[in-house]
């Protein structure tokens, strides 16, 4: 009992410390930004003839407080919508698309991994294409998906534009899951597999009772990768296809105003960063929930 409470206590202090460190690192970045603004060259600078030093003027690097106070001012003068609520709404929109993409990608990835684990020939046939698929640039694929989607009419159901962005999120998300889960499904020790054989267990029974549980430690990290990949896919697709409502669209719309309102675009960029954090936090929570009954491995 006492050991448990001390463990809980140390857990709590560790969390507080971690949160403090996070805030501290943010402050550090802000500090470095402002220090560079004071000492850095206004019009940029060259090192050994290469233009390496970024400009430190207010156009290129707005003050941290300008960016932060921009959140509390209206998006457009004369409108009563503050920019923080616009950015938050955009991030929420993109978050939902990323969730759809993540779900499709994870399902597809798991399905493919099971197929490849079941049939060696499928693994040989599919795996190289999976690798090749990830070398196709997303911005080349985006207009194609939009165009295919625009032609889809299945029994009165038309492909909504946002679906294209979700599909591109899935396109990035399925790969780590497929590869990670395949590794996991084939990771069960051969002694255990032989034991299942000796029980005359079917392949499906072996999958359910042995291979899948053994694969969980591989699948969870791959899902984390997939979560952040789906966010990237969605944001890039939004930028690429101009999908309205999300954070990617806000980034380009605000970037166009960088001439006269340079702090504005940073509000959307930070929004995208928060979105990425939220998505990986979401998977971490799911991970903690699923792993709660597993014996803790000795943590370093």
């Amino acid at each position: 009992m006492t050991t448990e409470t001390t463990m809980k206590k140390s857990e709590a202090t560790r969390r507080v410390r971690r949160a403090l460190l996070f805030v501290l690192s943010l402050l550090l970045v802000a500090g470095v930004w402002e220090i560079y603004k004071t000492v850095g060259p206004e019009a940029g600078g060259k090192i050994f003839g290469w233009k390496l030093l970024p400009r430190s003027n207010n156009h290129a690097m707005p003050h941290v407080w300008d960016m932060l106070t921009r959140y509390s001012r209206p998006e457009l003068r004369g409108s009563d919508r503050k920019i923080w609520s616009v950015v938050l709404a955009g991030a929420w929109f993109s978050f939902r698309l990323a969730l759809v993409g993540f779900a499709i990608g994870a399902t597809l990835g798991l399905g493919l991994s099971i197929l490849m684990a079941r049939f060696k020939i499928a693994e040989r046939g599919i795996l190289p294409y999976l690798v090749v698929s990830q070398t196709v640039p997303l911005i080349a694929l985006a207009p194609l998906v939009v165009s295919w989607g625009g032609k889809l009419h299945i029994a009165g159901w038309t492909w909504p534009r946002w679906m294209s962005a979700a599909v591109l999120g899935a396109f990035l998300a399925f790969f780590p899951v497929a590869v990670g889960a395949l590794k996991g499904l084939t990771s069960a020790p051969s002694a255990s597999l032989e034991l299942m054989d000796s029980y005359a267990a079917s392949w499906w029974q072996t999958l359910r009772k042995l291979r899948f549980p053994a694969a969980i430690p591989f699948i969870v990290p791959s899902l984390k990768l997939a979560a952040s990949a789906s966010v990237i896919g969605v944001v890039v697709a939004e930028i690429s296809t101009g999908l309205k409502g999300g954070i990617g669209r806000l980034i380009i719309e605000y970037a166009r105003e960088a001439t006269s309102d340079p702090a504005k675009v940073f509000t959307a960029v930070f929004g995208a960063a928060v979105l990425g954090l939220a998505m990986s936090g979401f998977v971490t929570l799911a991970d903690m929930y699923m792993m709660r009954n597993r014996p803790k491995e000795a943590s370093a």
Binding site: L76, V100, F102, A106, R161, T241, G242, T259
Partner: protein, 386 residues
């Protein structure tokens, strides 16, 4: 207990996808067209129009035609699709994903040369809106003054007016000027990286006039800049036009009929915007444009100047301007030595049949399609376009 975990995971993923699809579903409604077809229509024809970019006054006529019910009067149910960084409107049209698309003429002709069967059916913008903007102290008042300067350009086929002007002024684009790739914004001009920046009258030029001059603490004014207009230099290329599928025009009588109605109602929308610039700017703002109110009105007014007056009737394709565009597209080499087109566009690349029928329809309705009395309004740009 433990063996259930994998299935929980899978079930969670599936449940998640269902939930996310369910809650994602309500977002598509924002772009859905307003179906306010009058009772006179037995059926309405759904039409998809692909824009080159986001909702802004550059496309005000189409939004006005939706808002004012001009399309509905023609029994059309028009949905307007916004563009994006990598969306090529004429490609969407050639792929059959949309019914009509807006595109600049040189870019669309390049796609046509590459095999896309698309046809210019209405030349909405009669004039080019491209400028080269520089600070007064650089002394750049004509393309000949580009010599030895840093000349900004957007690339991606937007640079050919610059090259044509340089060639016309007797300069070698490769040797006599330094060409600088330009971003969407005008920061490089203000920072002095670029001596003369490419700008559209209706957008980027307004951006510099909305920025604060650090020396005075006030906005820059038109007096701070020199402006070279490619239209005035005689090298303007035709810009925003309505393109249709050549294949469907030839084989599908209903599509051709729809095209006439669509062009007619679109021109009616532009005529409305000519006479009601403020109302049209408001319509575009209401459609969710993120540009500020004064920027939007400025854009509306500048776009009107590119369309009106239309001596031959709005949307008519002027053979001389077409030939000039095609000639520049064939003869002007960019830095890589390539031209937009390798040969002259075929005669089927544009048709005035559709727009002629559309104008006749509008004349019958008493719509002024020439706008000979058009006078632009005065727009004061506020800081940051607010």
């Amino acid at each position: 207990m433990r063996r259930n975990k994998g299935w929980k995971l899978a079930a969670g993923v599936v449940a998640l996808s269902l939930a996310a699809v369910a809650c994602g579903g309500d977002d598509s409604s924002s772009d859905a067209p307003a179906s306010n077809a009058p009772a006179a229509c037995e059926t309405t024809t759904p039409v998809k129009l692909q824009l080159q970019w986001f909702t802004q006054a550059q496309f005000a006529g189409y939004f006005a035609a939706v808002d004012q019910g001009f399309y509905a009067d023609q029994c059309l149910d028009v949905s307007i699709l916004e563009g994006g960084v990598d969306i090529v409107p004429q490609q969407q049209l050639a792929d059959g994903a949309v019914d009509f698309a807006l595109s600049w003429v040189p870019k669309a002709l390049a796609s046509r040369e590459a095999g896309a069967n698309i046809v210019d059916i209405a030349q909405i913008y009669q004039r080019s809106g491209t400028l080269q903007v520089s600070f007064k102290d650089k002394g750049i008042t004509s393309p000949a003054d580009f010599a030895g300067k840093n000349i900004g350009n957007w690339g991606y086929g937007n640079e050919f007016e610059i090259f044509a002007a340089l060639t016309k002024a007797g300069l070698d684009p490769a040797a006599d000027v330094t060409l600088v790739q330009q971003q969407f914004d005008m920061a490089a001009l203000l920072a002095g990286d670029i001596d003369a920046a490419e700008a559209m009258t209706y957008n980027e030029y307004a951006q510099v006039l909305e920025a604060i001059n650090p020396d005075t603490g006030k906005q820059y004014t038109a007096d701070d800049f020199n402006v070279v207009s490619y239209e005035d230099e005689g090298v303007g290329m035709l810009q925003d036009a309505i393109w249709a599928s050549g294949e469907r025009l030839a084989s599908d009588a209903a599509y051709k009929d729809t095209a006439v109605k669509f062009v007619a109602a679109s021109i009616q929308g532009w005529a409305y915007c000519r006479d009601n610039a403020q109302a049209c700017a408001d319509i575009v703002v209401a459609k969710g444009s993120k540009l500020g109110a004064s920027h939007q009105l400025w854009q509306m007014n500048e776009v009107n100047k590119l369309i009106w007056p239309a001596t031959g009737g709005a949307g008519m394709i002027d053979a001389a301007a077409w030939d000039r565009t095609a000639k520049i597209a064939q003869e002007t080499k960019n830095l890589e030595g390539s031209t937009v087109l390798t040969k002259a566009p075929d005669a089927e690349a544009y048709t005035n049949d559709i727009v002629t029928a559309a104008l006749a329809l509008l004349d019958g309705m008493g719509v002024d399609t020439k706008g000979s009395s058009f006078a632009p309004i005065d727009v004061t740009l506020n800081e940051a376009g607010a």
